[in-house]
């Protein structure tokens, strides 16, 4: 590079000027932030004024400010929301300070009041998982313990994040509580449709009875859809899934969810059922379902048949006649999306 020089282009100059202009704004913001911090840290000021200041005070970087912010965070006489803001404003320190990380875990576990402080602590700990994996690793056990403690917290948001993290970790305590939540209506930790998703991070066979129950007697349609989708490996659900797929009275979204589940255990059956729906059932109200089924066939049909070459492919609809029927469907009245998907399907044969 030494034999050359570079001259800033107009583009770069313009970007730098924009940066400069923004820097001026940032400088003003920082000046405002200094004032905001003074107000926020002044415990004699009215709460509303301090909360308003919190919105623009940003990070605390001066040692004296940090000390005061930590004192506020630890002061049980300070309002919960103020303590929550105080901790968020020193979040970066948690990434390198073992004691503060433990403070964050303790604050999460304590779950004081409405859970605001615990939520702030949890956010900081989530960032630490990304940026300080080595430190977080040393605190894994106490972090999980704190998460388990707050799964019963009245703050739903806090409960939900804690449950999801634990479910991802295949935590048996959280899995048991989620299952109980599904089984005991009225004592739900979290909505059933969300609980099913969390359990699906690590599906176990003992979940199937309750999932079947939800699929057949659902508290709501989303829960039914999620239950159906996660019964793909349950052999006992095969008939129910097929029944759902082939039931013309069923909600199209449920039918597609059932097809995708069926692919897992009976791919040939799922492919054949999909093809039958596409060519045998009529009505514009089915265009979206047909589009989705064709879309799924594009990515799964070859696999469904090639995975089991030793089996005679259950084929009540031959490939040739199916393609001919698609050509007919393409020139019939119907949605543009369906016709486009027919082209994509046929092109991929």
């Amino acid at each position: 590079m030494s034999e050359y020089t570079y001259q800033d282009s107009e583009y770069k100059k313009r970007l730098r000027n924009e940066v400069l202009e923004k820097s001026i704004t940032v400088a003003e913001q920082k000046k405002q932030a200094v004032n905001a911090r003074k107000i926020f840290l002044n415990t004699t000021k009215p709460i509303d004024e301090r909360l308003e200041a919190a919105k623009s005070m940003g990070n605390f970087t001066e040692p004296a400010d940090i000390k005061k912010a930590l004192a506020i965070f630890r002061d049980e006489n300070q309002p919960e929301i103020i303590r929550s803001y105080a901790f968020s404003s020193v979040a970066g320190l948690v990434l390198s300070d073992e004691a503060l990380m433990q403070d964050a875990i303790d604050a999460l576990k304590a779950g004081e009041g409405e859970g605001q402080i615990a939520l702030s602590a949890l956010r900081i700990l989530q960032l630490a998982e990304i940026s300080s994996p080595d430190m977080m690793e040393r605190h894994t056990a106490s972090f999980k313990d704190a998460l388990r403690t707050v799964v019963d917290h009245k703050n739903k948001n806090l409960r939900s994040i804690a449950l999801e993290i634990l479910a991802m970790e295949k935590d048996e305590f959280a899995q048991r509580r989620l299952l109980e939540s599904l089984e005991n209506k009225g004592e739900e930790l979290i909505e059933p449709e969300v609980a099913i998703q969390f359990l699906a991070y690590d599906l176990h066979a003992n979940y199937y009875p309750v999932l079947r129950q939800i699929a057949q007697n659902p508290p709501n349609q989303i829960a039914k859809r999620e239950a159906l989708r996660n019964l793909g490996t349950d052999v006992e659900s095969k008939d129910m899934l097929l029944e759902t797929v082939m039931n013309p009275e069923e909600d199209p979204e449920m039918r597609h969810a059932a097809v995708t589940a069926l692919i897992t255990q009976a791919p040939e059956l799922a492919v054949d059922s999909s093809k039958r729906i596409i060519i045998e059932e009529n009505g514009e109200h089915l265009d979206e379902l047909k589009t989705a089924l064709l879309n799924t066939l594009v990515y799964t049909e070859k696999r469904a048949t090639s995975d089991r070459p030793e089996n005679l492919f259950l084929e009540t609809v031959s490939a040739e006649s199916f393609n001919q029927e698609l050509q007919r469907l393409k020139v019939s009245p119907g949605s543009a999306e369906l016709k486009e998907m027919i082209d994509i399907y046929l092109n991929n044969r």
Binding site: T61, D134, N157, T296, E337
Partner: protein, 492 residues
């Protein structure tokens, strides 16, 4: 039209497929007559489709581009009369045309919409046109419907079990809780993820799908789009692209969106579950301290501008707070000053519920790669915009850990994988401590357009990604961003 002329780009031998792609860094090209009877003087000019991409030409000096002479045409090139195919090539270089005044590049919007026309210098008659593409990474929010569709199809194919291989699952398995310390929380965070993005992009570009009419659909023109999370991305989080979560946090797609078939394949999950099971909930919409505006569907709350804090850093702050790599990437946590890894990177991840919020699960969501594409773009923006540049791999301001890393039992800031001369796991196949215990996915996929970095990349090769420092086309990694050009030098 073809009057016995041939042009080859990136591969003079013509043995590779899908070589006709350029970015902002000059790429080698060759022109010759096929069956010459006499010498021929030709001029090379743009001759692509209307609104297609355009290229800039560079003469060749000793096999390198003459960076001091970029031009919109190469005049009076003499094509020899020799019938020896090995010796009658004339080399030149081409790069995508970038207007340094407006800041806009003449990028392609579809494959092969750019053309290099070969004109007879004496008659100005068009003798031949070579089609190619100015291929760069673009803002996902501004993709055309076709660009969107091609990207979604490509990642869906990779997310489909292909018998013995399952490319997307391999990518996920490189980015697990058990590998996190190798790739996060230390300086290599940015170079490692640059190679990781390249792995996916090259997997995409190698895809070919046979069509019923006997043709083959290639995805060589597809790049990873970036999610600019500092602005609203109203065209991204829609049912026909990245999807939009329902009230339960399950991402919903249109019936024709390939992602309707997405498999999350979470780490350690043996069972593959089909269907739109992807979870991406706006996790914190109920938080009073960080209110989320539901109409602002493109911006996660932790990267919203306006506040200056760990959680809410602006693009301006990200790029301009620091001029040295260490603070830029990692910040100074002991002073409560965040670097890029924590904010906006970490903030963007934890703005959501679902796999995207956690290190070991996040690549289950295709949004992960678009998020990281923007993180990588912010790094390139910083490298390019910081006075004096930050592309020199030997400069501690460009990268703080020089030389070779040491041994140890677990990855740390002082162990291998974190230093410029180190090879990068897992492409180096090193599964011994301090490295993670699995590294059997093979080398970094090759590209037909560039040779760098090779199957076993060294960390330093990730830094000067389009040869701004070295000026050597052989160092180009084969990707570029639409808004970050290569600067052309002047003679001292």
């Amino acid at each position: 039209m073809n009057q016995g002329i041939i042009i080859r780009i990136n591969d003079r031998a013509g043995t590779k497929k899908h070589t006709d792609y350029v970015g902002w860094g000059p790429r080698p090209a060759w022109v010759r007559q096929i069956s010459p009877t006499s010498t021929l003087s030709v001029t090379l000019r743009n001759n692509g489709l209307l609104n297609g991409g355009r290229v800039t030409f560079f003469p060749s000096i000793n096999g390198r581009p003459d960076m001091l002479s970029p031009s919109n045409q190469l005049s009076n090139i003499t094509l020899p009369a020799s019938s020896d195919q090995e010796t009658n090539w004339v080399q030149f270089f081409i790069a995508g045309e970038f207007n340094q005044t407006t800041g806009r590049g003449a990028v392609s919007s579809r494959d092969k919409d750019t053309g290099v026309g070969v004109y007879d210098s004496s008659t100005n008659a068009l003798l031949y046109t070579k089609s190619l593409m100015v291929r760069v990474r673009k803002n996902a929010n501004r993709l055309t419907a076709t660009e969107r569709r091609d990207f979604l199809e490509a990642i869906m194919i990779l997310n489909t079990n292909q018998g013995v291989t399952f490319p997307w699952k391999n990518l996920q398995d490189m980015h697990l809780p058990t590998t996190s310390r190798e790739i996060h929380g230390r300086s290599c965070f940015l170079p490692w993820h640059r190679a990781y993005l390249l792995n996916l992009e090259r997997d995409i570009q190698a895809l070919e799908v046979s069509q019923s009419n006997g043709t083959v659909k290639s995805y060589a023109h597809v790049t990873i789009p970036y999610w600019d999370f500092f602005t609203t991305a109203q065209n991204m989080f829609t049912r026909d692209f990245l999807g939009f979560p329902d009230s339960a946090g399950v991402v919903q797609f249109n019936a024709s969106n390939p992602l309707i078939n997405w498999q999350t394949n979470l780490s350690g999950t043996d069972v593959v579950i089909l269907g739109p099971k992807l979870r991406r909930a706006h996790r914190l919409q109920n938080s009073s301290s960080f209110p989320w505006n539901p109409s602002n569907t493109g911006t996660p709350i932790f990267t919203l501008g306006g506040q200056w804090s760990t959680f809410t850093r602006t693009q301006n702050g990200t790029i301009n707070d620091y001029s040295d790599y260490r603070r830029f990437a990692l910040g100074v946590s002991s002073s409560n000053l965040p670097g890029l890894e924590t904010s906006p990177h970490g903030g963007a991840h934890v703005s959501w519920g679902g796999p995207i919020m956690r290190v070991g699960w996040s690549p289950a969501d295709p949004l992960f790669f678009m998020l990281h594409c923007n993180i990588d773009r912010l790094w390139t923006m910083w490298q390019w915009l910081t006075p004096g540049y930050r592309f020199n791999p030997s400069d501690t301001n460009s990268y703080d850990r020089q030389g070779f890393g040491g041994t140890g039992t677990v990855p740390s800031s002082s162990t291998k994988g974190n230093y410029t001369e180190d090879t990068l796991w897992p492409w180096d196949g090193d599964d011994q401590a301090p490295r993670p215990s699995q590294a059997n996915w093979g080398g970094l996929p090759a590209s037909p357009t560039v040779s760098a970095p090779g199957p076993i990349p060294r960390l330093k090769q990730m830094i000067d990604y389009h040869a701004q420092y070295s000026q050597n086309p052989a160092d180009h990694l084969g990707f570029d961003y639409e808004d970050i050009p290569l600067d052309y030098p002047r003679r001292n």
